[in-house]
Amino acid sequence: MIIKNLEALEADLRARLRPVYLLMGPEELLCREAFEMLREKVLTPGSADFDLSEFEGGAATASEILDAANTFPMMSARRLVVVHKAGKIREEDQEALLAGIETLSPKTVLVLWAGELDRRRKFYRTFQQRHCVCEFQGLKEAALERWAAARLRAAGYKLSPEGLKRVTEMVGSDLQTLAAELDKLMLYAGGAKTIPAEAIDGLVRSSRQYTIFELTDAVAARDRNRALVLLASLLGMGEHPLVVVTMLARHCRQILIARECLAQRVPRREIAAEAGVPFFVLDKFLGQAQRAERAVIDEMILRLAAIDKQLKSSALDGRMLLEGLICALV
């Protein structure tokens, strides 16, 4: 059985508690929240010191894990045994673990926690066929905004749809970072419960990629003032000019790849993969790729190469060089 979101897991837990769970997927925050749900369901408060055993795959052997799993709980109705980094469990231990699970104590819940597992192997397939796999993939676009809105709502806070969109665009799809930024916004709002839009720009740390995207967007739109202000804000946050040069060159390369893909009518999803662009900014990115003038991109790459060389071989001021680039291009 495969569960793909927390709501489904919650519903399943209300119905029954299974003996074995496999938590996996790239979205660590959701895995963590799923584990917290399991922990809450299995252990009575204050019993973790007695009834929770934690192991690390690769470091612990199957017999150690199974010994713990077959020990009776002391304070709770069930014992909770967790194996972190389950993907690192050695092959011989995987076999032993699979055999041991068949005769697992009914007073134990075993949780294996892995980032990623080879889905072709018997280890994964057994869990998928006979136990419960909770797989949490990264959220995209609207799902990301919905998740953020739900998180704010649960805490009693409100943010406008535009604000939500802006926050998710700025932060990206990493839920842990997004959650931390939302927490900050909620703290800023305090008792007001409505998060002011201006707090987003003042408080949310936008991903470097997003700011570079905004910067190149301003260059493409020939908005010189905005481009210079964005550059100043990037450097003002402590970014080294060389990092900015590298990110700008990377962005130009992505634009060229995207243009080529668009010309060959490559599907959008594949363009995102080819160009290495996060899916949540793909629409904006493709718009930029279509608008961008080839000559401007070419010139930008040449000038960036020159600036890169100057930064590495002279004491010239990086900020001035980058400002010169923007003034020359826009």
Binding site: E28, D174, Q176, T177, A180, D183, K184, L187, Y188, A189, G190, A199, G202, L203, R205, R208, R224, N225, L228, V229, A232, S233, G236, M237, G238, E239, H240, V243, Q310, S313, S314, A315, L316, D317, M320, L321, E323, G324, C327, A328, V330
Partner: protein, 570 residues
Amino acid sequence: MQYQVLALKWRPQSFDELVGQEYVSRTLINALQSGRVAHAFLFSGPRGSGKTSTARLLAKALNCHEGKPGEPCGRCVACTEIAAGGCMDVLEIDAASTRGIDDIRELREKARYNPARDRYKIFIIDEVHMLTPEAFNALLKTLEEPPPHVVFILATTEYHKIPATILSRCQQYSFKLIQYPLILDRLRKIAEAEGIRISDPALEQVVFSSGGSMRDAMSALDQVIAFSGSEVRDEDVSTLLGLVEPRVLAETTRAIAEHDPAALFRTVAELVEAGQDLNNFCRRLSGHFRNLMILKVGISDPALLGIPESVLPDLRAQAELFSREDLLRLFDAFQKVEAGMKYAAQVRFQLEMGLVEMAHIARLRPLEELVAEFSAYADDDPPGGPGGGAPATRVATEPPAGQAAPGRQGRREPLERSPAGRPAPQKKSEAPASARPHTGGNARELLESIVAALGREALEFLLQSFAGARLEGDRLILDPGEAGEFARHQVARNLEAIAEAAASVVGRKVSVTVEGVGGKAGRDEGVPTPPSPRAESSSGEILERARREPVVQSFLDAFPGPVKAEKLDE
């Protein structure tokens, strides 16, 4: 009592005194008041933006015995000890010197024990990006689930060097550079409290030399006070901070604008006499031109310019002396000079030559200006202008110069379109050189007029690289100068279009040749060429011209031998 530098003496003691980071302070105060304090913080931002001060304030607010939540009292034993840097429950670690795995293991050991007196055991790790990868890994687990009595505050100027695993475990706050007016206000208050008499322009110089860092501004003020005492003279500030007087920058700028190398030599000599660092002067001058460029592109935000508002009008006037293109080229030239000075044995000569070169950089006219001129040119064309001169673009298809165009008088001619589809420039009746048939006086001017009349972007670009053009009777001879082979041959292939444009400029039909490019491509095939006394009449003459060709000369250098004409193509 021992002297304490201003940056330490005036370190903010409450969140109200924290300047320029209102979003951060309000969020932290709310977190403290609501009791939702994270167990790990990461403060990142440029130096002097208030990271360490905020970390200490947070430590005080967490451990204060008497104050309200979010408002450390500043009087209790915890507050005074933290302010003095001697609190045993607040450990301030410099990761630049304490950066190994053993240091972090020791830190983890200390974290296990309860605080000795206060509520929390707080670890402030400054410059955390300096930790080794192993030390970061050792810190991970403790950072993820620290004991409930422990709070970590990490501070860094290099955010991008922090591993993602650490970042995701911390509540992150970005500190931004502090706005100049806020630093100015703070320094003014400090100067007043310290009994220092300093003028606002001098204080502005101190502030704008700091680049938005409060600590740098305070250190600069300290330096000035140490030199001048309680009475600070304006000129002392410039000298001490290594600033170049705005007057010198303005004079240099004007000398460059007015192509006056003598003034530039004099300025450099004065600087050398005054013992000024020429590298510093070059850096400041290039920064000055950067400001002119920023102003020229339409931005006058003092924060972005990094200059006081009071100098804006003068700077604007200086920016008006140049076009945007000029400023870009001068800016590039400055970068070359600055880079060259790094390796020069004689910095002075390098600077002088660089400045003279800049003074000789030809001025480019902005495209917008040219477009506006052409538009005005078209609009102003009065019906039957003086002399009833034929419109420039019509010359090639209408009777030659001297004969009035029939039917022209009394009505406005529509703009004729060039082959590229854009409006071809018409003659402006009252306009000087460019409107009247060109007499061919100035070679470069003539070439530029032809370029302007061309209407083919690629060809315009190539022809721009030529040195000039001259008229010899009905022949227009293009001088390639230093133009590349490609440009020469592409131009030679498009002589017909050039002849058409040239006719519109000079007011009569002309044949066009490219100097140094012989043969078929070198002459305009489409326009009748009148017999010329200089026409190649014999194979000997053609051979002689061929020998002068750079390509042929290169061949002759490599393979010396006789040149023999196998086939002479007319």
